[in-house]
Symmetry: C2
Subunit: 206 residues, 2 copies
Protein backbone atom coordinates (compact mmCIF):
# COMPACT_ATOMS: atom_id res chain seq x y z
CA UNK A 1 0.00 0.00 0.00
CA UNK A 2 1.48 3.29 -1.08
CA UNK A 3 1.07 6.76 0.26
CA UNK A 4 0.36 9.08 -2.61
CA UNK A 5 1.98 12.18 -1.19
CA UNK A 6 4.76 11.38 1.24
CA UNK A 7 5.01 15.02 2.27
CA UNK A 8 1.88 14.61 4.40
CA UNK A 9 3.34 11.73 6.44
CA UNK A 10 5.11 14.23 8.67
CA UNK A 11 1.79 14.91 10.33
CA UNK A 12 1.55 18.49 9.01
CA UNK A 13 -2.05 19.45 8.27
CA UNK A 14 -2.94 19.28 4.58
CA UNK A 15 -4.90 22.47 4.16
CA UNK A 16 -4.90 22.64 0.36
CA UNK A 17 -7.90 21.31 -1.53
CA UNK A 18 -6.45 17.96 -2.52
CA UNK A 19 -5.96 15.45 0.31
CA UNK A 20 -2.48 13.91 0.51
CA UNK A 21 -3.64 10.27 0.58
CA UNK A 22 -5.38 8.02 -1.87
CA UNK A 23 -7.98 5.64 -0.49
CA UNK A 24 -5.50 2.77 -0.11
CA UNK A 25 -2.85 4.86 1.63
CA UNK A 26 -5.41 6.28 4.01
CA UNK A 27 -6.66 2.78 4.82
CA UNK A 28 -3.12 1.60 5.58
CA UNK A 29 -2.59 4.40 8.10
CA UNK A 30 -6.00 3.74 9.68
CA UNK A 31 -5.32 0.02 10.11
CA UNK A 32 -1.93 0.77 11.66
CA UNK A 33 -3.54 3.15 14.16
CA UNK A 34 -6.34 0.65 14.97
CA UNK A 35 -3.68 -1.98 15.66
CA UNK A 36 -1.67 0.40 17.84
CA UNK A 37 -4.40 1.69 20.10
CA UNK A 38 -7.41 -0.56 19.44
CA UNK A 39 -10.31 0.00 17.06
CA UNK A 40 -12.84 0.95 19.76
CA UNK A 41 -10.41 3.39 21.38
CA UNK A 42 -9.63 5.16 18.09
CA UNK A 43 -11.85 8.13 17.17
CA UNK A 44 -12.24 9.69 13.73
CA UNK A 45 -10.54 12.75 15.27
CA UNK A 46 -7.51 10.58 16.28
CA UNK A 47 -7.36 9.26 12.75
CA UNK A 48 -7.62 12.69 11.13
CA UNK A 49 -4.83 13.89 13.42
CA UNK A 50 -2.54 10.98 12.52
CA UNK A 51 -3.21 11.56 8.83
CA UNK A 52 -2.78 15.31 9.06
CA UNK A 53 -6.19 15.72 7.45
CA UNK A 54 -9.37 17.45 8.49
CA UNK A 55 -12.26 15.16 9.39
CA UNK A 56 -14.14 16.38 6.31
CA UNK A 57 -11.20 15.46 4.06
CA UNK A 58 -11.23 12.01 5.65
CA UNK A 59 -14.99 11.66 5.06
CA UNK A 60 -14.31 12.46 1.39
CA UNK A 61 -12.76 8.95 1.17
CA UNK A 62 -14.64 6.91 3.78
CA UNK A 63 -18.17 7.40 5.13
CA UNK A 64 -17.29 6.22 8.64
CA UNK A 65 -14.72 4.59 10.90
CA UNK A 66 -16.71 1.38 10.50
CA UNK A 67 -16.30 1.49 6.71
CA UNK A 68 -12.51 1.56 7.18
CA UNK A 69 -12.81 -1.47 9.46
CA UNK A 70 -15.07 -3.29 6.98
CA UNK A 71 -12.71 -2.70 4.03
CA UNK A 72 -9.68 -3.85 6.05
CA UNK A 73 -11.42 -6.99 7.32
CA UNK A 74 -12.59 -7.77 3.77
CA UNK A 75 -8.96 -7.68 2.58
CA UNK A 76 -7.95 -10.16 5.28
CA UNK A 77 -10.97 -12.49 5.09
CA UNK A 78 -11.28 -12.31 1.31
CA UNK A 79 -7.61 -13.29 0.99
CA UNK A 80 -7.97 -16.25 3.33
CA UNK A 81 -11.23 -17.44 1.75
CA UNK A 82 -9.69 -17.21 -1.74
CA UNK A 83 -7.04 -19.73 -0.66
CA UNK A 84 -9.76 -22.30 0.10
CA UNK A 85 -11.18 -21.79 -3.39
CA UNK A 86 -7.90 -22.24 -5.26
CA UNK A 87 -7.52 -25.44 -7.31
CA UNK A 88 -4.75 -26.62 -4.95
CA UNK A 89 -7.25 -26.58 -2.09
CA UNK A 90 -10.01 -28.28 -4.05
CA UNK A 91 -8.32 -30.97 -6.12
CA UNK A 92 -6.16 -33.94 -5.18
CA UNK A 93 -5.43 -35.82 -1.97
CA UNK A 94 -6.76 -34.16 1.19
CA UNK A 95 -3.28 -34.05 2.77
CA UNK A 96 -1.98 -32.15 -0.28
CA UNK A 97 -4.95 -29.78 -0.11
CA UNK A 98 -4.29 -29.23 3.60
CA UNK A 99 -0.66 -28.44 2.81
CA UNK A 100 -1.80 -25.95 0.17
CA UNK A 101 -4.17 -24.22 2.61
CA UNK A 102 -1.57 -23.96 5.39
CA UNK A 103 1.01 -22.48 3.03
CA UNK A 104 -1.47 -20.19 1.27
CA UNK A 105 -2.98 -18.87 4.50
CA UNK A 106 0.49 -18.12 5.86
CA UNK A 107 1.35 -16.25 2.66
CA UNK A 108 -1.85 -14.17 2.95
CA UNK A 109 -1.01 -13.38 6.56
CA UNK A 110 2.51 -12.23 5.65
CA UNK A 111 1.25 -10.18 2.67
CA UNK A 112 -1.70 -8.64 4.57
CA UNK A 113 -0.07 -8.51 8.02
CA UNK A 114 -1.78 -5.34 9.33
CA UNK A 115 -5.25 -6.32 8.08
CA UNK A 116 -4.98 -9.88 9.46
CA UNK A 117 -3.67 -8.50 12.78
CA UNK A 118 -6.80 -6.34 12.95
CA UNK A 119 -9.01 -9.31 12.06
CA UNK A 120 -7.51 -11.44 14.84
CA UNK A 121 -8.26 -8.74 17.43
CA UNK A 122 -11.92 -8.33 16.49
CA UNK A 123 -14.12 -9.17 19.47
CA UNK A 124 -17.61 -8.69 18.00
CA UNK A 125 -18.57 -5.25 19.33
CA UNK A 126 -20.50 -4.23 16.19
CA UNK A 127 -22.37 -5.73 13.24
CA UNK A 128 -19.25 -5.49 11.04
CA UNK A 129 -17.22 -7.34 13.67
CA UNK A 130 -19.92 -9.97 14.20
CA UNK A 131 -20.01 -10.63 10.46
CA UNK A 132 -16.21 -11.01 10.42
CA UNK A 133 -16.31 -13.47 13.34
CA UNK A 134 -18.98 -15.49 11.51
CA UNK A 135 -16.78 -15.65 8.39
CA UNK A 136 -13.86 -16.78 10.58
CA UNK A 137 -16.07 -19.55 12.01
CA UNK A 138 -17.02 -20.72 8.50
CA UNK A 139 -13.33 -20.66 7.47
CA UNK A 140 -12.33 -22.70 10.56
CA UNK A 141 -15.14 -25.14 9.85
CA UNK A 142 -13.89 -25.66 6.29
CA UNK A 143 -10.33 -26.28 7.55
CA UNK A 144 -11.66 -28.75 10.12
CA UNK A 145 -13.49 -30.52 7.29
CA UNK A 146 -10.25 -30.76 5.33
CA UNK A 147 -8.39 -32.26 8.32
CA UNK A 148 -11.23 -34.77 8.77
CA UNK A 149 -11.04 -35.70 5.06
CA UNK A 150 -7.30 -36.26 5.37
CA UNK A 151 -7.91 -38.45 8.44
CA UNK A 152 -10.55 -40.43 6.53
CA UNK A 153 -8.16 -41.05 3.64
CA UNK A 154 -5.58 -42.25 6.20
CA UNK A 155 -2.93 -39.64 5.41
CA UNK A 156 -3.33 -37.68 8.66
CA UNK A 157 -3.29 -39.20 12.17
CA UNK A 158 -6.73 -39.59 13.71
CA UNK A 159 -5.69 -39.61 17.39
CA UNK A 160 -6.02 -35.80 17.43
CA UNK A 161 -9.56 -34.43 17.02
CA UNK A 162 -9.93 -32.70 13.63
CA UNK A 163 -11.34 -29.47 15.13
CA UNK A 164 -8.57 -29.33 17.76
CA UNK A 165 -5.94 -29.95 15.07
CA UNK A 166 -7.38 -27.19 12.86
CA UNK A 167 -7.35 -24.74 15.77
CA UNK A 168 -3.78 -25.62 16.75
CA UNK A 169 -2.57 -25.33 13.14
CA UNK A 170 -4.13 -21.90 12.78
CA UNK A 171 -2.86 -21.00 16.25
CA UNK A 172 0.62 -21.56 14.87
CA UNK A 173 -0.14 -19.59 11.68
CA UNK A 174 -1.92 -16.71 13.44
CA UNK A 175 0.88 -16.35 16.00
CA UNK A 176 2.98 -14.97 13.16
CA UNK A 177 1.23 -11.58 13.56
CA UNK A 178 2.65 -11.40 17.10
CA UNK A 179 6.31 -11.72 16.23
CA UNK A 180 6.97 -11.49 12.47
CA UNK A 181 8.05 -8.08 11.18
CA UNK A 182 8.72 -7.46 7.47
CA UNK A 183 12.38 -6.69 6.84
CA UNK A 184 13.48 -8.36 10.08
CA UNK A 185 15.70 -11.42 10.50
CA UNK A 186 12.96 -13.94 9.64
CA UNK A 187 12.22 -14.59 5.95
CA UNK A 188 8.44 -14.28 5.49
CA UNK A 189 8.57 -16.29 2.26
CA UNK A 190 9.85 -19.32 4.20
CA UNK A 191 7.27 -19.27 6.99
CA UNK A 192 4.59 -21.22 5.13
CA UNK A 193 7.06 -24.02 4.37
CA UNK A 194 8.33 -24.02 7.98
CA UNK A 195 4.78 -24.31 9.31
CA UNK A 196 4.04 -27.20 6.93
CA UNK A 197 7.25 -28.95 8.02
CA UNK A 198 6.26 -28.77 11.69
CA UNK A 199 2.54 -29.42 11.19
CA UNK A 200 2.73 -32.35 8.79
CA UNK A 201 6.14 -33.92 9.28
CA UNK A 202 6.89 -32.86 12.87
CA UNK A 203 10.13 -31.55 14.29
CA UNK A 204 11.53 -34.89 15.37
CA UNK A 205 13.92 -36.71 13.09
CA UNK A 206 13.93 -40.04 14.91
CA UNK B 1 -9.93 -19.76 42.90
CA UNK B 2 -12.95 -19.61 45.14
CA UNK B 3 -15.21 -16.74 46.04
CA UNK B 4 -15.55 -16.66 49.83
CA UNK B 5 -19.06 -15.31 49.97
CA UNK B 6 -21.11 -16.11 46.90
CA UNK B 7 -23.87 -13.77 48.05
CA UNK B 8 -21.80 -10.81 46.87
CA UNK B 9 -21.48 -12.08 43.28
CA UNK B 10 -24.91 -10.68 42.49
CA UNK B 11 -23.30 -7.26 42.36
CA UNK B 12 -25.14 -6.00 45.46
CA UNK B 13 -22.96 -3.60 47.46
CA UNK B 14 -21.38 -5.23 50.52
CA UNK B 15 -21.94 -2.56 53.13
CA UNK B 16 -21.17 -4.63 56.23
CA UNK B 17 -17.74 -4.50 57.79
CA UNK B 18 -16.37 -7.75 56.36
CA UNK B 19 -15.69 -7.78 52.61
CA UNK B 20 -17.25 -10.71 50.75
CA UNK B 21 -14.08 -11.83 48.98
CA UNK B 22 -10.77 -13.24 50.09
CA UNK B 23 -7.66 -12.03 48.28
CA UNK B 24 -7.67 -14.91 45.82
CA UNK B 25 -11.34 -14.58 44.95
CA UNK B 26 -10.99 -10.86 44.43
CA UNK B 27 -8.00 -11.41 42.15
CA UNK B 28 -9.98 -13.91 40.05
CA UNK B 29 -12.76 -11.40 39.47
CA UNK B 30 -10.25 -8.65 38.65
CA UNK B 31 -8.42 -10.79 36.08
CA UNK B 32 -11.72 -11.73 34.46
CA UNK B 33 -12.69 -8.06 34.17
CA UNK B 34 -9.24 -7.10 32.80
CA UNK B 35 -9.62 -9.82 30.15
CA UNK B 36 -13.14 -8.68 29.26
CA UNK B 37 -12.54 -4.97 28.81
CA UNK B 38 -8.76 -4.55 28.81
CA UNK B 39 -6.47 -3.70 31.72
CA UNK B 40 -5.90 -0.07 30.70
CA UNK B 41 -9.62 0.54 30.18
CA UNK B 42 -10.54 -0.87 33.62
CA UNK B 43 -10.64 1.60 36.51
CA UNK B 44 -10.56 0.76 40.22
CA UNK B 45 -14.13 2.10 40.29
CA UNK B 46 -15.16 -0.43 37.57
CA UNK B 47 -13.57 -3.17 39.60
CA UNK B 48 -15.24 -2.12 42.87
CA UNK B 49 -18.58 -2.03 41.05
CA UNK B 50 -18.14 -5.54 39.60
CA UNK B 51 -17.16 -6.85 43.03
CA UNK B 52 -19.95 -5.02 44.80
CA UNK B 53 -17.37 -3.51 47.15
CA UNK B 54 -16.45 0.03 48.06
CA UNK B 55 -13.07 1.21 46.74
CA UNK B 56 -11.78 1.36 50.32
CA UNK B 57 -12.78 -2.30 50.90
CA UNK B 58 -10.88 -3.18 47.71
CA UNK B 59 -7.81 -1.23 48.89
CA UNK B 60 -7.95 -3.30 52.11
CA UNK B 61 -6.73 -6.25 49.97
CA UNK B 62 -4.66 -4.65 47.20
CA UNK B 63 -2.78 -1.37 47.23
CA UNK B 64 -3.45 -0.59 43.55
CA UNK B 65 -4.78 -1.87 40.24
CA UNK B 66 -1.17 -2.45 39.26
CA UNK B 67 -0.64 -4.78 42.24
CA UNK B 68 -3.53 -6.92 41.00
CA UNK B 69 -1.88 -7.05 37.57
CA UNK B 70 1.50 -7.90 39.07
CA UNK B 71 0.13 -10.77 41.18
CA UNK B 72 -1.80 -12.22 38.22
CA UNK B 73 1.21 -11.99 35.88
CA UNK B 74 3.40 -13.62 38.54
CA UNK B 75 1.00 -16.59 38.70
CA UNK B 76 1.26 -17.04 34.92
CA UNK B 77 4.99 -16.38 34.50
CA UNK B 78 5.99 -18.18 37.69
CA UNK B 79 4.07 -21.25 36.54
CA UNK B 80 5.70 -21.25 33.10
CA UNK B 81 9.20 -20.63 34.48
CA UNK B 82 8.76 -23.44 37.03
CA UNK B 83 8.25 -25.89 34.13
CA UNK B 84 11.71 -25.01 32.76
CA UNK B 85 13.22 -25.74 36.16
CA UNK B 86 11.61 -29.16 36.62
CA UNK B 87 13.91 -32.20 36.41
CA UNK B 88 12.14 -33.31 33.21
CA UNK B 89 13.20 -30.04 31.54
CA UNK B 90 16.79 -30.23 32.81
CA UNK B 91 17.83 -33.89 32.57
CA UNK B 92 17.97 -36.30 29.65
CA UNK B 93 17.91 -35.97 25.87
CA UNK B 94 17.04 -32.50 24.60
CA UNK B 95 14.08 -33.83 22.57
CA UNK B 96 12.63 -35.39 25.75
CA UNK B 97 13.19 -32.14 27.62
CA UNK B 98 11.46 -30.23 24.82
CA UNK B 99 8.50 -32.62 25.02
CA UNK B 100 8.35 -32.04 28.79
CA UNK B 101 8.34 -28.26 28.35
CA UNK B 102 5.62 -28.27 25.66
CA UNK B 103 3.36 -30.50 27.76
CA UNK B 104 4.08 -28.69 31.02
CA UNK B 105 3.54 -25.22 29.54
CA UNK B 106 0.22 -26.32 28.03
CA UNK B 107 -0.87 -27.70 31.42
CA UNK B 108 0.04 -24.38 33.11
CA UNK B 109 -1.95 -22.52 30.46
CA UNK B 110 -5.02 -24.72 30.98
CA UNK B 111 -4.73 -24.49 34.80
CA UNK B 112 -4.06 -20.73 34.82
CA UNK B 113 -6.14 -19.80 31.77
CA UNK B 114 -7.30 -16.30 32.89
CA UNK B 115 -3.85 -15.25 34.15
CA UNK B 116 -2.06 -16.51 31.03
CA UNK B 117 -4.69 -14.80 28.85
CA UNK B 118 -3.89 -11.54 30.65
CA UNK B 119 -0.15 -12.15 30.24
CA UNK B 120 -0.50 -12.68 26.49
CA UNK B 121 -2.34 -9.35 26.10
CA UNK B 122 0.27 -7.29 27.95
CA UNK B 123 1.69 -4.62 25.65
CA UNK B 124 4.25 -2.93 27.92
CA UNK B 125 2.38 0.22 28.98
CA UNK B 126 3.86 0.26 32.52
CA UNK B 127 6.88 -0.94 34.50
CA UNK B 128 5.00 -4.07 35.63
CA UNK B 129 4.11 -4.87 32.02
CA UNK B 130 7.64 -4.18 30.78
CA UNK B 131 9.03 -6.57 33.41
CA UNK B 132 6.54 -9.24 32.32
CA UNK B 133 7.52 -8.81 28.66
CA UNK B 134 11.19 -9.15 29.63
CA UNK B 135 10.47 -12.40 31.49
CA UNK B 136 8.57 -13.68 28.43
CA UNK B 137 11.62 -12.87 26.30
CA UNK B 138 13.90 -14.80 28.67
CA UNK B 139 11.47 -17.74 28.63
CA UNK B 140 11.32 -17.72 24.80
CA UNK B 141 15.12 -17.56 24.69
CA UNK B 142 15.41 -20.63 26.94
CA UNK B 143 12.95 -22.56 24.76
CA UNK B 144 14.90 -21.54 21.64
CA UNK B 145 18.05 -22.85 23.36
CA UNK B 146 16.34 -26.17 24.02
CA UNK B 147 15.27 -26.50 20.36
CA UNK B 148 18.85 -25.69 19.29
CA UNK B 149 20.22 -28.35 21.68
CA UNK B 150 17.80 -30.92 20.23
CA UNK B 151 18.93 -29.95 16.73
CA UNK B 152 22.59 -30.30 17.79
CA UNK B 153 21.95 -33.81 19.17
CA UNK B 154 20.26 -34.69 15.86
CA UNK B 155 16.85 -35.49 17.31
CA UNK B 156 15.10 -32.42 15.88
CA UNK B 157 15.19 -31.30 12.23
CA UNK B 158 17.55 -28.41 11.60
CA UNK B 159 15.95 -27.05 8.42
CA UNK B 160 13.71 -24.82 10.57
CA UNK B 161 15.44 -22.03 12.48
CA UNK B 162 15.40 -22.77 16.24
CA UNK B 163 13.96 -19.36 17.17
CA UNK B 164 11.24 -19.63 14.50
CA UNK B 165 10.40 -23.17 15.66
CA UNK B 166 10.16 -22.01 19.31
CA UNK B 167 7.85 -19.16 18.35
CA UNK B 168 5.61 -21.39 16.22
CA UNK B 169 5.41 -24.03 18.97
CA UNK B 170 4.38 -21.44 21.53
CA UNK B 171 2.05 -19.87 18.96
CA UNK B 172 0.25 -23.20 18.91
CA UNK B 173 0.25 -23.45 22.74
CA UNK B 174 -0.76 -19.83 23.35
CA UNK B 175 -3.62 -20.05 20.84
CA UNK B 176 -5.36 -22.27 23.37
CA UNK B 177 -6.40 -19.16 25.35
CA UNK B 178 -8.38 -18.02 22.28
CA UNK B 179 -10.60 -21.06 21.94
CA UNK B 180 -10.32 -23.46 24.90
CA UNK B 181 -13.03 -23.08 27.56
CA UNK B 182 -13.03 -25.27 30.70
CA UNK B 183 -16.01 -27.62 30.77
CA UNK B 184 -16.50 -27.40 26.99
CA UNK B 185 -16.20 -30.19 24.43
CA UNK B 186 -12.37 -30.19 24.37
CA UNK B 187 -10.54 -32.10 27.13
CA UNK B 188 -7.91 -29.73 28.57
CA UNK B 189 -5.92 -32.64 30.00
CA UNK B 190 -5.32 -33.96 26.47
CA UNK B 191 -4.17 -30.71 24.88
CA UNK B 192 -0.52 -31.02 25.94
CA UNK B 193 -0.30 -34.50 24.40
CA UNK B 194 -2.06 -33.31 21.22
CA UNK B 195 0.37 -30.42 20.85
CA UNK B 196 3.35 -32.74 21.32
CA UNK B 197 1.93 -35.14 18.71
CA UNK B 198 1.64 -32.37 16.13
CA UNK B 199 4.87 -30.56 17.06
CA UNK B 200 7.21 -33.53 17.30
CA UNK B 201 5.64 -36.29 15.21
CA UNK B 202 3.57 -34.24 12.77
CA UNK B 203 0.05 -34.88 11.59
CA UNK B 204 0.97 -36.92 8.56
CA UNK B 205 0.94 -40.72 8.80
CA UNK B 206 2.72 -41.44 5.53
Amino acid sequence: MSIADSATTSGAPARRGRPGYDREGLLAVAVQLFNEQGYDATSVADLAKRLGLTKSALYHHFSSKEELLAVALEAALGGLEAVLDEPGAREGAASDRLRHVLTGATDVLVAQLPAVTLLLRVRGNSAVEQAALERRRVFDHRVTGLVAEAQAEGSVRDDVDAAVAARLLFGMINSVVEWYRPGGSVDGDRLGADIVRIALDGLRTA
